[in-house]
């Protein structure tokens, strides 16, 4: 048994931590979030240069051949810094689907661009009616010669405005909620028939509603086998949940630590707030929940990389449930204990809070995963 990171992983973690210290003070982040495209192209280039965009990909395509533990190390630090760049969308989500489903030729064409940052991917797998069910798909893809023609609407597509390629889930057969009959396609973001409406999300990131009207995509851009996309989608969703949860754990750490710090400085009734036992106990509860989430994050990540897939799947559900529930508990109490100041845009707590809410709303909230776990 060993919970130590490898030397390489420690180095990555330290390098991300340094990057955040140097670049991600609250004011700089706010400026980036307030103007288009909502993140820094320079930071994106730096991330490519430092090799972070290469982590999960095969070495033959310029990647590092890393696994979910490496992603965890990066995402936990990203959480502490509230990083805006589309790492999750491009490397974990879109890149994850390409990694798993692309033919050797397609991977050779696409992955080097993800790794050097010149391509930015995303995944379009949510629909107006689908809520968190990735198998609820009404967007269709009809075969026509060497092509497929896609029609439908995708919702809440992360960072689509700056994406070069979009991985789209579409129904090639079966009924609306069948797990069979879903196929994944890698579509150029500027393909004819795609129209987007872009908007900011609660946490300052970006998302889009996308219409697909007779969008033609070459059959060579199919990821995985036809009708068998759901398996890839599930694997990508699990990786995304692990990454989001690692980010959330980084956020929770900052939230409880900032609260402990603030209550030691803030004096009311002639005492620092932290001297009031009722608040001490609240902060202890926050800390305990954070540690529990971290433990479950390790468990789910290690089981995913080394364990039995079915057990791992169940733990991933458990993780996203706990992260949603405890993360919001910690965030709500961080705001409460900061009083009025916690309600302002001036302090970091509010921004961590908003990111926590968005994390809970992505790839299944606490309720959704509780039911999946219990099922």
């Amino acid at each position: 048994m060993n919970f130590e990171l490898s030397d390489e992983q420690k180095l990555i973690g330290e390098s991300v931590e340094r990057f955040i210290q140097d670049n991600y003070d609250l004011e700089s982040r706010r400026k980036l979030a307030d103007q288009e495209p909502g993140f820094s192209k320079d930071h994106w280039a730096t991330m490519a240069e430092l090799g972070w965009l290469a982590l999960p990909f095969a070495e033959e395509h310029g990647g590092f051949g890393g696994n979910q533990i490496d992603a965890m190390v990066v995402m936990e630090q990203f959480g502490r810094g509230l990083v805006l760049e589309p790492y999750l969308a491009s490397v974990v989500m879109g890149g994850g689907a390409v990694k798993r489903g692309a033919s050797a030729a397609l991977a050779g064409e696409i992955v080097p661009g993800i790794v050097d940052g010149s391509r930015q991917l995303t995944l379009a797998c949510t629909e107006p009616q689908s809520r968190f069910d990735l198998h609820d798909v009404t967007t269709t893809a009809k075969a026509s010669g060497d092509e497929f023609v896609i029609n439908g609407h995708k919702s809440m597509v992360l960072h689509a405005a700056t994406a070069t390629q979009i991985v789209v889930s579409a129904r090639t057969s079966g009924g609306q909620i069948d797990r069979d009959g879903i196929s994944l396609f890698l579509v150029d973001a500027d393909a004819a028939g795609i129209s987007r409406q872009d908007f900011p999300t609660v946490d300052g990131l970006r998302a889009s509603e996308i219409d697909f009207k007779d969008v033609k995509v070459d059959a060579s851009r199919l990821l995985g086998e036809v009708d068998k996309g759901y398996e890839i989608l599930t694997a990508v969703a699990n990786d995304t949940v692990l990454a989001l949860s690692a980010e959330a754990v980084g956020i929770m750490e900052k939230l409880y630590k900032n609260t402990v710090e603030y209550t030691q400085e803030r004096v009311q009734f002639d005492h620092p707030l932290a001297e009031f036992q009722v608040l001490q106990h609240r902060m202890v509860d926050m800390f305990v929940e954070y540690e529990q989430c971290k433990s479950l994050l390790y468990r789910a990540t290690l089981e995913t990389t080394q364990g039995d897939p079915e057990t791992a799947q169940r733990t991933v559900h458990a993780l996203k449930h706990l992260v949603g529930k405890s993360g919001i508990f910690i965030a709500e109490n961080a705001v409460q204990l900061h009083g009025g100041m916690g309600m302002t845009e001036e302090l970091a707590v509010g921004h961590y809070f908003k990111r926590m809410l968005v994390i809970d709303s992505q790839f299944g909230n606490a309720d959704y995963h509780l039911e999946k776990f219990a099922a």
Binding site: R131, S155, P200, V202, D203, G339, K354, L357, S361
Partner: protein, 389 residues
């Protein structure tokens, strides 16, 4: 014990409903004009524009049941925009502790809603511990005015207010609750600067107010110098009762259920999902109980006594209920809870859902944080002697 409404009460309810219906806003009308006219008509009904004012000041002198009926009906009707600071908050203090001249000078405008008020209480160093406030008021040598210096924070609507009722320190030699003086300050006075604070919901409702050598005539002092804390404490109880908002929550709960039913899930909707339905049910149960807590407190205050410590229970429970409604509304939006602003998709109710939830986090902070309410209950209701911490 009896929960049936009497024939008179039922008649009153119908009368209230008819009044709301008759005077409802009609699209195309000038809103500001309609608003002032609405209050005028309510006044002509015999004090319906100021339901909580005592009879001698023009209030309707309703029974607790009538107040309850009014609350119920107002939650369902669309009343004109009104802020609590004038009619609900400063007016009772002027009635209770102001002199006749002040009552004549301020109450008519407050009642007509032609003047907006804000509350200058909290300061950067005085939040939950309000009595530690430091904004200094120094009486001029000739005794004609105070010179006020300091900073107020979280001042709701200061940017649209004509007047501020303000707690100032005139003496810091004794206990901190002593030496506080209650002043009424016109916002257009020289030396007042209002700066917006943008809150998590992205809104501008609260402000920081800087006071630099602001001259306030001594005629604007309510009651005695140094007694402001006593006056304000009574008002805080009023504020807390108002903040529970149970009638509004009942209506909001109905809205929540309706919204959840509009979210399709398989062959049914979100209300068919056991975990969501259970949370809505738990919320409803708490609301059913809280509603009776409010009725019991109303009934015990029948003699017109000031609301007692049970108002702390109501604030505590009522604000928590409001937050849960907002949270469930956000959850009902599912993936669309993440969208911000004027977004092009997702259920209609999701618009502002997360903004509403974020804003609701302040409910357990302002008007006495929940932790302070619990201290009040422990001390005044349970009779527990306060420990040092």
């Amino acid at each position: 014990m009896d929960i049936e409404l009497s024939a008179e009460d039922l008649a009153f309810r119908d009368e209230v409903r008819a009044f709301f219906k008759e005077n409802a806003y009609k699209p195309g009308k000038d809103y500001a004009e309609w608003r002032l006219d609405w209050f005028k008509k309510a006044r002509e009904k015999g004090g319906w524009d100021v339901p909580k004012w005592p009879k001698e000041f023009g209030g309707p002198g309703w029974s607790p049941t009538q107040h309850y009926i009014w609350e119920q009906e107002t939650a369902r009707a669309t009343l004109p925009w009104d802020m609590p600071f004038g009619v609900g908050m400063v007016a009772p203090i002027i009635m209770g502790y102001g002199n006749e001249e002040q009552q004549e000078r301020f109450l008519p405008d407050i009642r007509a809603r032609t003047v907006n008020w804000c509350q200058g209480y909290s300061e950067p160093g005085a939040g939950s511990d309000l009595a530690s406030l430091k904004t200094k008021a120094v009486l001029s040598e000739d005794g004609s005015h105070y010179v006020v210096n300091g900073q107020k924070i979280w001042t709701t609507a200061a940017h649209i207010a004509d007047w501020m009722f303000c707690l100032t320190r005139t003496d810091d030699s004794g206990k901190k609750q002593e030496g506080i003086t209650f002043l009424l300050i016109p916002m257009d006075q020289e030396g007042i600067e209002v700066k917006p604070i943008i809150t998590l919901g992205g809104n501008h409702t609260v402000n920081t107010v800087y006071l630099t050598d602001v001259k306030v005539p001594v005629e604007n002092r309510i009651g005695e110098e140094g007694k402001g804390w006593t006056y304000a404490k009574g008002l805080l109880q009023h504020e807390r009762t108002g903040l529970a908002g149970l009638s509004r929550s009942l209506v909001a709960l109905e809205g929540l259920k309706e919204n959840a039913r509009s979210v399709p899930r398989g062959n049914g909707d979100l209300m068919d999902e056991p975990s969501f339905r259970a949370k809505v049910a738990e919320l409803e149960i708490d609301l059913l109980a809280a509603e009776y807590t409010e009725l019991r407190s109303l009934a015990s205050a029948q003699a017109g006594a000031a609301p007692g410590p049970e108002s702390s229970i109501l604030k505590l429970k009522g604000t928590e209920i409001q937050q849960r409604i907002q949270k469930l509304t956000m959850e009902a939006a599912g993936p669309f809870a993440a969208a911000w602003g004027d977004k092009p998709a997702g259920p209609k109710f999701a618009k502002g859902g997360t903004g509403g939830y974020l804003a609701s986090r302040a409910y357990t902070i302002y008007g006495g944080a929940s932790e302070v309410q619990k201290d009040v209950i422990a001390k005044n209701v349970l009779g527990i002697k306060r420990s040092s911490r």
